[in-house]
Symmetry: C2
Subunit: 257 residues, 2 copies
Amino acid sequence: MEKNIRPLILVSNDDSIEANGVHALIDVLVNFGDVVAVCPAHPQSGQSMALTVATPLRITRVEDYKDAKMYKVNGTPVDCIKLAMHTVLDRKPDLVVSGINHGSNASINVIYSGTMGAAFEGCAFGIPAIGFSLTDHSPNADFTPCLPFIHKIVKSVLDNGLPQGVALNVNIPNSIPHPTEMRVTKGCKANWSDEYRKYTDPWGGTFYMLTGKFVNEEPDNTDTDEWCLSHGIVSVVPVALDRTAPSDIDTILNILT
Amino acid sequence: MEKNIRPLILVSNDDSIEANGVHALIDVLVNFGDVVAVCPAHPQSGQSMALTVATPLRITRVEDYKDAKMYKVNGTPVDCIKLAMHTVLDRKPDLVVSGINHGSNASINVIYSGTMGAAFEGCAFGIPAIGFSLTDHSPNADFTPCLPFIHKIVKSVLDNGLPQGVALNVNIPNSIPHPTEMRVTKGCKANWSDEYRKYTDPWGGTFYMLTGKFVNEEPDNTDTDEWCLSHGIVSVVPVALDRTAPSDIDTILNILT
């Protein structure tokens, strides 16, 4: 395969350019094409599709990692994808890949996830996009179990594409023994309760820190990402860029008239 | 109607507690129930469903506006809704209303909108939720044309509810003459191009500021929010909290095997 026809793969994440997860991801991706990584300079967990509106953004090249060109941006994952498209890349990427996130983005977490924010933004540019997450928040998590699944999924998507407007939310359990199976499945219905811990500062003021308890609303449903993850199986959930619900138009018409 | 059975309405926005838009919204809402507004202390446009993960959040009561209790939070619109639910309210609200945003949230903008982030978060708590936006970015925009539509929509939703997981994205044109009609319609397919302006700082460094040109991909389609807005008609688009796409599972199975 000639150098100039290798696929171009744009990488981002939400744990920052320093995170081990994005380096593990690049370890796999350099086998498939030319890799450019544009990642946040600082951690951006929970940034969803936030973009920076009113402050200056800077993009800075840092040291290459393997054959990948590496850049950092003082913004969100969405900023990274947008700036990459507008300032770094000379052609449209064949694939956008985000991750590997340190922590699960299964179930309801997908709506808050910065990792998936970058993937959705790739989707908005009409590029096949995948987010990968490992269910281990540790900065020193072992990403080895992810690598064969990333290899298989990236190869398939480069070969076959994805439906327009649809990205993949891939979550990999940190189970022992390592996962050997993956399933295409549904996002589990769930919510978060007890979301804040209350503190008193040294001057008597009150502040809150995000915490929370994950509540699985369908623990017995075997056709969900949470079920897969708790049974040592990699989950692949198709997710949509479009947030509109045209099938509800008639219902809303009845409600409003 | 007795005081203790009046509906409880939780209000937020993304333009901050200082914005005229949220005060115009409250002008209408106090006619319907007990109003508690929990808004960002500082502007949060483009914050989507971002939440604050690693820094302390503070919620501070400020002066009442009319009969509404007013609070500010040093965070995002999603933080505001979550903190309101966990620290301020003693019962589940009957309605979450976000806005009135200074600027359009029609079409693709819904995915980045902090205003709609607050509405989606209301939806995540299982509460009927509505976001209102006026197509005028000015801090001194005239919100008068919005008020009869807000009155009508809020009354209908308090009376009839909304489908679980579905919120309303309401955009109001700042057209002259003022709008007299509203339609329940679809989100317009669109994208943003030329998204950044490049600058040189006093020390020779390069930075970028978000700008962009809105590109309507279906200008002749009369069944979209953009068409309504450009014809002086209020648009109501049902939007979904759920970002998963279970109808694509079989397609993805074929792609991956």
